[in-house]
Symmetry: C2
Subunit: 379 residues, 2 copies
Amino acid sequence: MKVLVLGAGQLARMMALASKPLNIDVKAYDVGSNRVVDPLSLSVDYGDLDQGIADADFITAEFEHISHDVLALCEQSGKLFPSSQAIKTGGDRRLEKTLLEQTHVTNAKHKVVANKADFDSAIASLSLPLIMKSALAGYDGKGQWRLKDKSEAEAIWQDIQLFIEGDTSGQPQAIVVEQMVPFDREVSMVGVRSKTGETLAYPLTENHHSKGVLSVSLALNEHQHLQAQATEAFDKIANALDYVGVLAIEFFQVGDSLLVNEIAPRVHNSGHWTQQGADTSQFENHIRAVCQLPLGSTELVRPSAMVNILGTDTVPNNIFEIPSVTMHWYGKGKRPGRKMGHINICGKDKAELTMRLSQLAKILPKDDFPDVSEYVKSL
Amino acid sequence: MKVLVLGAGQLARMMALASKPLNIDVKAYDVGSNRVVDPLSLSVDYGDLDQGIADADFITAEFEHISHDVLALCEQSGKLFPSSQAIKTGGDRRLEKTLLEQTHVTNAKHKVVANKADFDSAIASLSLPLIMKSALAGYDGKGQWRLKDKSEAEAIWQDIQLFIEGDTSGQPQAIVVEQMVPFDREVSMVGVRSKTGETLAYPLTENHHSKGVLSVSLALNEHQHLQAQATEAFDKIANALDYVGVLAIEFFQVGDSLLVNEIAPRVHNSGHWTQQGADTSQFENHIRAVCQLPLGSTELVRPSAMVNILGTDTVPNNIFEIPSVTMHWYGKGKRPGRKMGHINICGKDKAELTMRLSQLAKILPKDDFPDVSEYVKSL
């Protein structure tokens, strides 16, 4: 079986690694070069998108910011899972918010802003502080503004106006203005849905962000009432999209309630721990769903955590001495802040996991992992 | 880091899959074609052996029947781990038996037979029944004869004589004649030794063979007294060979004692369960040892089993519905009896594992997996 992944980054690479043992051959479409490549040895070229579509049995995506032309071409082939509509919904906060409203899934109060009148009206009708996010582009903290005091509004609008005018996506850009949620913590749910409508969810993951980028994820199998809430939201969203594959939902936890922050129509950084910590990894489960194989169990094997490696291509070798540490380098060239790899770590219970995480945090250099130690201490 | 593996079969492939996340690039030397290939996409050619040796940081082997010229060339480079002597010992039962005698590791009574006089003397001095094994070639039941009654001796000698004369290895062939051990079961230990002499052993694995070929392996973490015996044998053998990498030892269990059957200087079929069932897989640990990274914990994560797939390239898709089933296809063309892949399966305890194994055995077709059901029932 052959699967073409739209996008040739680490998510395509990890799908390819999970697919080899299934005798499923994954190729990746590099949107920058319009070439189809082997995601494990990027040097090999298998032709352009048309060739890639023709050669594939199934097509999927590793990210949501894909041009609509490419999505349309793939959808026409009848091989694309999830659908182009599902991928677009994850790539456009306007569609995402509409979906959440339609499915009655709790999320922050918000307004869509396309011009100055919308902007003024949003500020008047929502309570400050506000967070403003680009509808189309931007994640990991990019394309976002925060408004804490009305006196800052004019300056922010100037910036937003330039951003909207400078957009090169070819679609009308807009901003979604949201009431900032005074959350207790950020959690996410990764789940999978089959073509026949079966859904399975992984245990809720606690996420620690640093400067807007995921730093540490923790999967413990606690908080069954939150797990139930998140699963309900997952099912509503995945069913509404007639979704096929792995879908991730980021939530804000406020007291005992979850509010959706955003959805990602793909395997997700906060699900990387599943490679060692779950019966079936998110990468294998995505490929199983896309290839219409039975879904794999999403049960936690043991408490697990993931630490992102950002902007560096080395870590001290003695982290390998900690039992259960598994390295995942992405084989990418170093750039400041770039996601270069991640470390998975597990324990038989929460105590063993946090003990091992403390050992790990002590070894990791503070310059490259500025706040891991502090977060681990808080557990 | 770049590693060249001598041999381009499934073991090299699984080393390559385990190495990608470590940013270690594995290439494989196909002894048949004298070409260095990518073990994950066999089509790509990186030159001949000299080129492969020059490009590699470290060299290792996936099998022990490698010509001495090739081993000598690799050893000269200073990059070969384990040593050529260790690899040769695993490929020659005469050296293997000498090693076991020198290290005082219990094994079956035996004689080396190079001619008719040796043969007659072995039959006279050992108790029947006897098993006769080619010193140089043959595993998985090939190159073996069984003598139950002295009346069969002459006919067997004719056959052995032809075998010895027909040997094309370029080295003097011989036969090792052993007293057959009335064993209770077959177990094996896979362990790893670092260049600095650290050793770590995986839990003892129970092996069920069918027609001389491994069919099912079971890793349970039981029998601590046997684990201690096997670990002692492992340490003696690995230290005597100044071994670097993963080494496997097959034992016969007789009552509460273990007798070494044979050693394999490489990752081993009976250690495939470690991919899902241990903190670090045997493939990653071999590569870690060869590349002089710290060894990874060999602890059992949960009771695990492996079922070999022989001679068929399809299994029913509904095996994927059993929680914890992980498929490992080798991407090879189908041939009768050929090792085509394996299935790993785990459970939180022995009861859950055997329950899942029973489910699996019910689904697997009897024609392709003739005795799995029966074995699983016996657990």
